[in-house]
Amino acid sequence: MSPPPRPERAPLGAETIETEVRGDRVGPAAIAALAVRSVTKTFGGNRAVDDCTLAVRRGTITGLIGPNGAGKTTLLNIVAGALRADQGEILLDGEPVASRRPDELLGRGLARTFQVPRPISSMTVLENLVLAGQRQAGERLWNTWYRPDRVGLQENAIVDRALGILAYVNLDHLRDASASTLSGGQKKLLEFARSLMADPKIVLLDEPAAGVNRTLMRQLAALIEEQCRERGVTFLVVEHDMDLVARLCNPVIVMSQGRPIFEGTFDEVRRDEEVLSAYLGGQFR
């Protein structure tokens, strides 16, 4: 499959970000929750992400779609701090964060899930969630010796929160099961639950629907919508399942050969001839 030809210039995000940087726009929506500016990442001779500029508006569920190999997961890894970009800037709520580690970014409210879920398989479902509790006093030896009451109280609060989230994603019946025994779809739900433990402002979801049956996918979609609507969480969703993208995402950004080539509503995306031929295929005609 040959990707669509590149436009002269990435058409989206750039203007928004420029105005943000100049401070021309005011109000809470003016600064993007996440801005990616001229980011490039090369592996060997392959430019996986190529001068990529895009913005994710606060309070949106933004879709990021594109052919396999377009650079979507690489971009997510760069944004989440798992990979260092060769060049370019990442702004989280307007603050440059390009050199931050994943745990620092999590502390600033950026959580992510993985395409292939990675729970700690030797732990139970509940333990996996408890581990994701942030700034635990018990992580410091000093506190465990001299402030055991405080550590205990906090641990109890984290367990309560984890149990609440497990019930929220309908995994509470599996709280004591080893994470290794979960099915693929249940691991996806656990990943999502883990991202919520950090009380995030923005969540990067890497293919939340892959390997998840339709009924569970609808539950997951409802949870994402609820988090966005009720708690104002911003989502950037990399996804190939167009039912989920159509239901959840607005706007949808199409990426090809390492950079965005189109942004619009899902209906606008599916009417674009280049996107149709390179990515969506005949079933969407």
């Binding site: 499959m1 592996f43 060997g44 392959n46 779609i65 594109g66 052919p67 396999n68 190999g69 395409q115 292939v116 080893s178 290794s180 025994t181 979960l182 099915s183 693929g184 779809g185 249940q186 996806k188 293919e207 892959a210 390997g211 998840v212 049956n213 339709r214 009924t215 569970l216 996918m217 609808r218 190939h240 167009m242 039912d243 390179a278 990515y279 969506l280 295929g281 005949g282 079933q283 969407f284």
Partner: protein, 239 residues
Amino acid sequence: MSATEAPALLAEGITSGYTEVPIIRDVSVSVARGEIVTIIGPNGAGKSTLLKTIFGFLQARTGRVFVDGTEVTGMPPERLVRRGLAFVPQTNNIFASLSVRENLTMGGFTLRDEVEPRIDRVLGLFPLLAPRLRERAGRLSGGQRQTLALARALMLDPSVLLLDEPSASLSPVMVESVFAHVAAINQQGTAVLMIEQNARHALAVSHRGYVLANGENRLEGPAAALLQSDDVRRLYLGE
């Protein structure tokens, strides 16, 4: 059971799991020669567990498995591939550090002199891999990797191909391509048993289907009938 009448694959009364509590109980599936059969069902139903048990990654606590009429229950995967069974897992299904050609050669590990002609034959089915033979497999895109995984599994000319979610994580256009490949593989005489969350697509290219729920057989029938069943559409196709 005589070899001429025997299904390409028969798994009967399989009980299996990872701990003392079984994930699947008394599950049976069969795949006739020349058939494509799809298993659908909710997450956690035991679909992957069934495939892993058939392919010897897990030991069945009860039940028996036959390939082309010969009992293979309890055989390890490396012996099962010699008996005509091939398996493409959902992830980690290629050797990323090896070239495309080396991956195909590994797929034909029991062959002696016939590796090259077999590679040529497999490339006839997957021509897009031909210009990439020297490329490191880890550099392929998701769709290309899945294509390579299918090609590798076909190197030993299996009589039954087991596929664990072949369309997961693929772009819509590549999903169409993978199912077209599955149909083409079947046209060459290989029976296929696959599990898929993309049930609509998978059943559309299948002859028959099974619904697994809670670790047990729930429904079975012609794929077209399952696609039209109100229960299946509501519960498993999200309609």
